[in-house]
Symmetry: C2
Subunit: 662 residues, 2 copies
């Protein structure tokens, strides 16, 4: 359905269409079964062959060859993710992390000197932040970079093994330079983490003096990305290689910055790099769409058993259990698509706005990016796994793509921020309120004193505010009177759950604070599960509101009607998933809870004929899907014909199947 | 704790100990990053180097060089699974599926001619049952084998592409012979699926005339196993190559069998091959133990953040969210271990019993094997994923083993029976009762008329019958009065849930049958989710009862006490997972449901110090774990020392972590 695809393609439809045509055919698609070296060589080659426009580099300033289109660059990355996740990550490292850091943290001199070569991929680089011993606690990085006024240079040093930079893309093979994050020291005082542009290899590709480079070697997936390790043994870095937009060191060593507080400065710097997280979330969903397209199309043609005593063909997609897995995952994928769309738009507005950064919107963007990254990557991991299993043994063969999608996306749940840590970021935003996000960064103890600021914030709509308010207001008083598909009821219930969880978390944190003033870690840790559930509930609401807003934007009546049914399924299957909590807190009666389950099954039956349409609307080219079982579709069809000519015994095997373990 | 390990090692402790010593060192361990050819060559070599005794071949009759020890052969396979899953599967294909079929379906002539070479691995073979188009519906295989009295030979033929044998281990590279399953036709009549011993390659390894062999190529994992495809173009098979224990064809083509009914005969033949399913379930749990050992030991030494405002070190394992993931998975792994132990013992008794097969016990064994295979393989997939994520970026590197464990075990959920299909087998057993398992194999419609036979069966205890009855009887009337850790209450609640679900399923099936007599598929499909949930509830009870029985067998007081706490955690976290249903059906009050969650958190706190002991009791040699992050443990320790010497800002980064996406 053309109109449905249009609704999904959204604001950057031209970028999506350009990718489908410019990157069409088999040239760029993932190749299963490659060795590490083969994969790395191919991806490095393809990186340079990628069309510049529209592309991942679209986010760079127009004056250097970009298009000043951050939103378009994210969408372009999502398209690459459907093609080959190694290619997407390689491009993300080069243009998003490395190039993005030079743009965001550097100043004109750095831009003039390097951006053109970075955009053209003549200069390949690394983003060297993570350390082996400090993945999540980046503010406490151990690498130091101390200024010496006599030589007017910095001394970059790795004090011990746990401080080595690790998992760094472009490091093991291709990187010539790296943006290295380290503790800035000058005049004997530390000013927190800053970034330097540091050459790591000469033109022949040999490590420069003092730089030792290791290889992370084989990984679960993403073989095309050359992740490695960097250690610095008192490496001399010229003063002007400090990316000094947020902090400057004068020749005499005097430190200056427009941001007084070290912590605040550090998180302001990190905030400018939020795009990477938006790309990872969107790419995870892009991969989930590929997996769902493969599994749904396979499930349409694959017959497992013949209906007992009937001549009717039964496709895998006809089984309720199959629909419970694939259709509900598909509904959530649709919901996440609209949430991602809205996030990309928000990112675009913030990063293209003139004048000073609106700090509140920036914080909101960071929180939204964190939450949706966690939601989308966990959803992708679960969905791709379900699709793999839905294709049985065929889903285990590399030729059917699913193993690659699974292995490549697996790391997404823990990079660009470990999902659990990111959910805590979201919860923290809710607990302390954006307004005082900076001031309150002194551990969880503090969270217990800001309860008052919370409610207003939580009540705030995240999308289509007036429409959603109208829907919520229209809900009659007693739940029992409301039909299960009432959108206002869904919205109110999601919001109510979030508020109640948040109130409870605040109450428990305050109680804990009173009891264990001296042990802030325990105060937080005792309620960590509750806090994480609160963040999850908030994200659920953000996603539902985005879906509702997306449907509201859709003009085609048929597409709108179908999307509305999909939204019913997303909302009710989410409610069903949380029925334990909702019953515990009397938000659902036992009878209504059972009715929700019945309604979900009912919706599955109604949506089942639309399954092929729903995946077709993702408009993923067949060459990109690159799955042998789809190429076999016609063959299967004829087979099924013969299948049904024969008189068959009833589906006895339903209960006695034995695909051998080999 | 030595006594804890003894409780886990159980009846076949000598087999486990022998494996730990005979297969010690690094010689047999999995090698990450191999190419397909390297992996296949290494595994084929190692297969022949495996010590014969005790080994996977222990199940063969003593007169041919085995030990007539089926239980021991399963445990030996579980140990191989901890070493290298490719090696386990390769051994399982050779000695379990191929050799096992020759033993179970063949007669003395076949045994005398081939068993010794099969045991010595001089004759490598395949188990060719699954077809591309018919993975689960094995009774409807399309391959035919028709007898011709003139030539006194069979004609083995693959009628069309969907009938090609697929995913066949040992086919792509090593197999010289195959046990091929096909429809037996003689005198113009079909007698259902039988098996033949068919040479597929000559001594030079070339395919024999009429046999075409394909390669399944690269897979998500298990690269060491050469899965392939077999097609037969009117291949001539001598009459005496029919494995004729259950069905014989005389020279003149007359068919005879001790079992009249074709369906019943077929499932009797399948029943003799149940061991493969028991091995896969146990191997999945073995891999989950390896993953948990790696993640828990890493979580003991890895510090993520320093406790705000404290000098105290915080290890990953100190976080409630981390415990919620790893400790609950560990508790279920313990529960499954005892359930698997009991299953292996049951298998051993049935397969070593003299005289005619006790059909009821055989059916019970098949149902138990199916249910525990599904439970263990899904648990392994989820647990290994959680362990991967718990190790962050390090968990994505091949050098840390988790990627290999994940990729290799992934297929377990869909081979040796797709888990969903297996759960239906379990449900079917409950619905129809073992007594009439055969007669009722005519589709789900029939299930609605046998409700009467059900209750007695469901009530039946699966382990330690008298002890469990005593515990259940001791539960006071009103739940509210019962402490949450009352084992009798756990047992009664698990059993109650199973019974209620089963009653409901029967009621709904009967109603459906009345309404849609003509459409048996819909009758079943409309309640498929309910039926699968019923099977799950049954398996939950089986597992809990086995855990209780295992604790009862444990004599050491300290080990017994620790196991009892772990059982509390398993029972209560399972109840928590099903709280939605329990609240819907008033089995829990909202207040008690919340109390269950609080109690789970409380148990996690109490068990946290025991975490290292609980994984140490698996007694997996370090060389087998083969994870670089564990070898780095001492290094980390010292790093952490320096870590804490420095004055640190509070754990602000808890909320702002950014491991870059590369």
């Amino acid at each position: 359905m053309r109109a449905l695809q249009a609704a999904l393609d959204g604001r950057w439809a031209h970028v999506r269409e350009a990718a489908r045509t410019q990157l069409g055919g088999g040239h760029f698609v993932a190749v299963p079964g490659e060795t590490l070296d083969q994969a790395r060589a191919r991806i490095t080659r393809l990186l340079r062959e990628l069309p510049a426009d529209p592309g991942v580099a679209a986010g760079f300033p127009a004056e250097y060859g970009g298009r000043s289109d951050p939103g378009g660059s994210v969408v372009a990355a999502e398209m690459l993710a459907q093609l080959d996740l190694s290619l997407m990550v390689k491009a993300g490292v080069q243009w998003g992390l490395f190039g993005g850091a030079v743009v965001a943290l550097g100043t004109r001199a750095h831009h003039d000197a390097y951006l053109r070569d970075i955009i053209s991929a003549d200069l390949l680089g690394c983003f060297a932040m993570t350390e082996t011993g400090h993945g999540s606690d980046v503010q406490q990085l151990r690498t130091t970079c101390e200024y010496d006024p006599l030589t007017q240079t910095f001394d970059l040093h790795t004090p011990h093994e746990a401080a080595r930079k690790d998992y760094i893309g472009n490091a093991a093979r291709d990187g010539r330079m790296a943006v290295v994050f380290a503790q800035l020291i000058t005049g004997g005082r530390r000013y927190g983490v800053h970034a330097w542009l540091v050459p790591i290899r000469d033109q022949h590709g040999n490590p420069l003096p003092g730089v030792s480079i290791g290889d992370d070697g084989s990984k679960a997936g993403l073989l095309g990305v050359d992740n490695g390790r960097l250690c610095f043994d008192h490496v001399t870095v010229p003063r002007d290689m400090l990316l000094d937009r947020y902090g400057q060191v004068a020749p005499d060593g005097t430190y200056t910055s427009s941001i007084e507080n070290d912590t605040r400065r550090f998180f302001t710097m990190l905030g400018t790099l939020v795009r990477g997280r938006v790309v990872v979330g969107g790419s995870a969903s892009a991969a989930a769409k590929s997996a769902l397209t493969i599994a749904v199309r396979y499930g349409e043609t694959r017959r497992q058993f013949t209906a007992p005593g009937e001549q009717r063909e039964v496709a895998l997609n006809d089984y309720l259990a199959h629909q419970r897995t694939l259709l509900t995952a598909l509904a959530k994928t649709y919901a996440l698509h609209f949430a991602q769309d809205e996030l990309v738009a928000a990112l675009h507005e913030v990063q293209t706005a003139d004048g000073p950064v609106d700090e509140r919107r920036q914080r909101e963007l960071e929180s939204r990016a964190a939450g949706l990254k966690a939601a989308q990557t966990w959803h992708a991991t679960a969905t791709i796994q379900a699709c793999r299993e839905a294709c049985g043994g065929a889903g285990y063969l590399a030729e059917n793509r699913l193993p690659g999608l699974k292995a490549d996306t697996d790391v997404f749940t823990t990079f660009e921020g470990d999902n659990t840590v990111l959910l805590q970021l979201v919860a923290k935003g809710l607990l302390t309120g954006y307004r005082d996000a900076f001031g309150s960064l002194d551990g969880w103890g503090r969270a217990t004193f800001v309860a008052e600021q919370v409610r207003a914030m939580v009540l705030e709509r995240t999308a289509a505010r007036t429409l959603i308010q109208r829907l919520v207001d229209a809900v009659p008083g007693r739940d029992e009177e409301v039909v299960l598909t009432d959108r206002g009821w869904h919205l109110a219930l999601f919001e109510d759950r979030e508020k109640h969880l948040l109130d409870g978390a605040i109450r428990r944190l305050r109680k804990g604070a009173a009891a264990k003033k001296d042990r802030p870690f325990d105060i937080f840790n005792d309620v960590q599960d509750h806090v994480l559930e609160t963040a999850g509930a908030h994200i659920d609401r953000v996603i539902l509101e985005a879906f509702v807003a997306g449907i509201d934007r859709t003009t085609d009546p048929a597409a709108k009607a179908l999307l509305s049914k999909v939204c019913d399924l997303y909302a009710l299957s989410t409610i069903e998933a949380h029925k334990g909590w909702l019953l515990e807190h009397q938000r659902l009666t036992p009878a209504r809870s059972k009715a929700v389950t019945a309604k979900v099954n009912d919706l599955l039956k109604h949506l089942r004929p639309g399954l092929p349409t729903l995946v077709a609307a993702f408009a993923i080219p067949d060459e990109w899907l690159n799955a042998a079982i789809l190429r076999e579709e016609p063959a299967r069809q004829t087979i099924m014909a013969t299948h049904d000519d024969e008189p068959l015994e009833p589906a006895t095997a339903t209960a006695m199947e034995v695909a051998p373990a080999q």
